[in-house]
Symmetry: C2
Subunit: 308 residues, 2 copies
């Protein structure tokens, strides 16, 4: 129990340091050469944050594998969150989701304008890579390659968003097409975060990368379900976008009941697949609020049998 | 004369290899995980190219300083061109310049749609950094840092575009504000290209970085003048955007005649400042077409006295 408490403590401290590092990187922008209004908009894209799931996953895996709270791990965590935030800002633009709300507040292009939102996304992408490239840690270049691939045109986030625009995917999205779309758009960044977390602890990245893909798959299933069923008040962002935009969605393929059943099974499978107890605890704590939104009648997760 | 001819030959071969490398990187996209339509749009953003001034500057400086045609130099040249192309695609979007034409063809958002143009810009940015991060050359990380800084929020291209949106710059653009805007938006990438060219040859980067800023300043002066005075038919892109958008511009400050005189002087100064004859020859050849557009009555440049 002592080690669980210690891990929990390191999680809290890690989350606090993550916020402080993100805040510091925004506050350094005007002196570093960014126009004040653009820097403020970058800050609004990062704060208030969401759950910070991806960087916290990275830090939790690093801690669970005995990695220290190294500067490198935090550089990577900040970079992963900046890529995620960039993708949200661009995804919310009128030409994509045309979303008015994000985390309960007006989206960046609503608060400022489209041009600013465009630059905020470009800027956050670049800031992410700059952060990792500035690291003197010898593992930084490998982490940077992992993050760049998860972001870019080679099956990364940007490729994933591109599948939304591809005529073949729009017209008849079969399950494999939707899974490829989600792997790029969502799972890749979770996989990168998990893999880099293992890398930061000197652990093997393979099992954690696979775990990250699994988390991403679960998360995207939740996202599709919440978009189809939850109110904007419950999720803090515009809902009903997938149907309105004829977006490939697992709900469109499985139906709501089928997608819910798949989520319940995938949630339990995920906890059972966690390579160790600390990561299992992190995932259970981090994902239970989402589970409660998806499966309200059955909010307490079953305790999975895991190999400790 | 032999060495001049040899350098010219290496310039032609370098330009051909650059085109081939850019083409190969586009052609590899679909197999690498990019949706076909998005990959095609990335290709249309890179081909037909403009003058490829920035990567050719990089390669010319590398050759002039005795650098070999190393893979690293071409990785960097491709990366620089991808960043430039990304900036054009995003800059042309309706929320920025709202330009219909680029290099005599419809802009990417006109040929496809805004969402595709958004992803093309994001994708080209990421592709640029991915290319340099994939290099095994020990200088690649330094080149990557230089390029990231020239691109990002810390006084780079994205910061430069941000100054267009800053109320202080829009309302009363004094000369220093316009110069800061241009340094970010235009000169930084020239400076990065020049500095990385020197780095690729093992030469000192300082003088070449300064030369790059000077080239960028001249180029932006030309850009402002052509926007104010030339037709779209002459430049292959939408003109009159600066005035229409109340964009900070040196023409707004100096007037057309004053900006023209400043250009003529800066052109001669630039050639005189070239650190060696080969770079001077490159600049004269590369920039003379622009000079002829700006100063048609006086198309042949004066031969500057340079230290060989």
């Amino acid at each position: 129990m002592q080690s669980e408490r210690a891990l929990l403590g390191s999680g809290v401290r890690g989350a606090q340091r993550l916020e402080a590092e993100l805040r510091a990187s925004v506050e350094a922008l005007p002196a570093g050469g960014a126009p004040a209004r653009l820097a403020a908009a970058v800050g609004d894209a990062l704060f208030p944050g969401g759950q910070r799931l991806r960087p916290r996953l990275l830090l939790a895996i690093c801690a669970a594998e005995g990695g220290q709270d190294s500067d490198f791990a935090f550089d990577a965590a900040v970079a992963v969150e900046c890529v995620h935030a960039a993708s949200l800002v661009h995804d919310d633009l009128p030409c994509f989701d045309d979303a008015d709300l994000r985390r309960g507040k007006p989206t960046i292009h609503k608060r400022y304008d489209e041009a600013t939102a465009l630059l905020v996304g470009d800027g956050l992408l670049t800031l992410a890579f700059e952060r990792l490239a500035a690291s003197e840690d010898p593992r930084a270049i490998r982490a940077l390659r992992i993050l760049l691939r998860a972001t870019g045109l080679h099956g990364g986030l940007i490729a994933g968003q591109g599948w939304e625009l591809e005529p073949s995917t729009k017209v008849s999205p079969d399950e494999s097409a939707v899974r490829r779309y989600h792997a790029g758009k969502t799972s890749g960044l979770f996989a990168a975060a998990a893999g880099i977390g293992a890398l930061a602890a000197g652990a093997d990245t393979t099992a954690y990368t696979a775990l990250g893909y699994r988390i991403g798959g679960l998360y995207q299933l939740a996202d599709d379900l919440l978009d189809a069923t939850a109110t904007s008040a419950a999720t803090g962002k515009s809902s009903g976008r997938d149907a309105a935009l004829e977006r490939p969605s697992l709900v469109r393929i499985y139906g709501v009941a089928g997608a819910r059943a798949a989520f319940a099974e995938a949630f339990d499978d995920l906890l059972a697949a966690a390579p160790n107890r600390a990561v299992c605890m992190f995932l259970e704590a981090a994902l239970s609020p989402i589970r409660a939104l998806i499966l309200p009648a059955d909010a307490a997760p079953r305790r999975p049998a895991i190999a400790v």
